[in-house]
């Protein structure tokens, strides 16, 4: 069921090879991501999970090309990525719809950038709006939608650019548990329908097990690959799977891996606060 962190294989569509990210801080250089290597196969759903401060979001920004890395290579279908790339579509944790655009115009945004004629891009946008289940809301503006609906608009906008890889950074973090489970169903359904290669960054074990083919567990700072777990649950999956015994075993197993790292993170944070206050007091 579990395997040591493997090196990327030749048929992987996304390869993250020996990536290191370091930041200069007033306390010295901090290594956020430390020699991380993994690959994602075409059509696969891979989740990266780890405690807060393990470098998950840094890794998201590196793969998306929003952040430079100190060492290593990120490549898509053999092409090295040195910045934002059209083959990677990003869905962000924060609410990221454009408030001045209607749902249709939000979703049509990437199509507008490539110069698609208006009628065609509206038709295409409507297809993706329907895919995320927002029929009837085409002319609404983001301030007229709920948080979950706005996140679906963001997802549809990213899917409209037809990326080779869908990269999501805790897209449901700001939503309540029930909406999160239902949206997970929607993402799974779309991912299976489009055979969309997906990389999800999350700290939610249930969400990761519910959706993934594999889960990459990261260590607390510096962020390294601790283990990659194959999730051998039947597909197609829905949120109903959270009630199964096998699901519970996977959650327990991943939590066992994460607990140690999360505890380390908590101790580190407490020490930091202690030193900070001691420094402040003196």
């Amino acid at each position: 069921m579990t395997a040591p962190a493997p090196q990327p294989a030749n048929n992987d569509i996304l390869v993250v090879d020996d990536v290191v990210v370091r930041f200069d801080t007033p306390d010295g250089t901090v290594t956020a991501v430390d020699h991380v290597s993994f690959g994602v196969r075409p059509g696969e759903f891979l989740s990266v999970i780890g405690p807060s401060g393990c470098g998950k979001s840094t890794l998201f920004n590196v793969i998306g090309g929003l952040l430079g890395h100190t060492e290593g290579v990120v490549s898509v279908a053999g092409v090295t990525i040195n910045g934002p790339h059209q083959s990677i579509g990003m869905v962000f944790q924060e609410e990221s719809t454009f408030p001045w655009r209607s749902v249709t115009d939000n979703v049509a945004f990437p199509l507008e950038l490539v110069g698609m004629p208006k009628a065609q891009r509206i038709e295409r946008a409507r297809h993706f709006i329907s895919l995320v289940g927002l029929d009837g809301f085409e002319n609404r503006y983001p301030n007229e939608l709920s948080g979950g609906m706005r996140q679906r608009v963001s997802l549809a906008r990213t899917l409209a650019s037809e990326p080779k890889i869908l990269l999501m950074d805790e897209p449901f973090a700001a939503l309540d548990e029930q909406t999160r489970l239902l949206l997970g169903d929607k993402v799974l359904q779309i991912q299976q329908q489009l055979e969309q290669t997906t990389l999800l960054i999350t700290h939610n074990i249930t969400e990761a097990v519910q959706m993934s083919d594999r889960i990459l567990v990261m260590t607390y700072r510096p962020g390294k690959v601790k283990r990659i777990v194959d999730i051998d649950l039947p597909r197609p999956r829905t949120s109903e799977i959270v009630g199964s015994e096998a699901f519970g075993r996977y959650v327990a197993q991943i939590w066992a891996d994460l607990r140690e790292e999360a505890s380390r993170g908590m101790r580190d944070e407490e020490d930091h606060m202690m030193h900070h206050h001691a420094g402040g007091a003196s």
Partner: protein, 262 residues
Amino acid sequence: MTMTATTPTRRFTLGNALPALTGVGTLVGFFVIVELLIQTGALNRFIVPPPSEIIASFPRIIVEEDVLGRFVLTLTECLTAGIMLTVVGVTGGVLMQRFKLLQQACETWVAALASAPVVLCYPLFMVIFGRNAWTIIMMGFVAGLPPVILKTLEGISGTRKVLVNVGRSFNLTPSQQFWKILFPAALPTIFVGIRLGLIFALINVVGVEFLINFGGLGQLINELAERYDLAGTYAAICFVVLVSVLFFMAVEKAERWLTRAE
């Protein structure tokens, strides 16, 4: 999970009209109270004219004082100053956001200019532009410029980072990043600056018309006040308020059009 919705339609109902009716009612109520206070002698009619006299003086100032011509002149001066301060102010704010050195060099004194009594510089402007409409327009323009610059700077600098990152993830060029993300995101704040700028411009335009006795509603108010025609003075002030109302309606329309239209 599929959801459907219908586009909401706005129908005229008493509930929708209630805020506007309450506003008008409050104003009418205020005038009635003032009228009663004057008629009963609680307020001196030689300091505050009765609203009924102000209303009665409208036909007189329209016919005898060419108030409509003056209204058009003041409106044109305000409009010219408004267009100039919008174009120059927004450009200035964008440039200050784009070039940090410019921002560091100028932001403090632009902010200081916003609270400076620019109207006192009118003799200097008369020396530069002469005793004509351009002095009035330039006074309005200079007085209204700082809030537009500062609010444009604030709006663009305050664009949420995630929206900028969405643009970056779609590999936008710097020009696309500005026109498709930064500028529309900043528009509501820019319009706050334009509204403030127009208030300052209108105050200065009417104030300088009053001071240099050149023309427009400001000069009319000055003349009527000097003749001690209080009812006429207040009636002329109503036309200044009308200029202000027209401007705000136009700005509101422009904002709706720019922030909602594709």
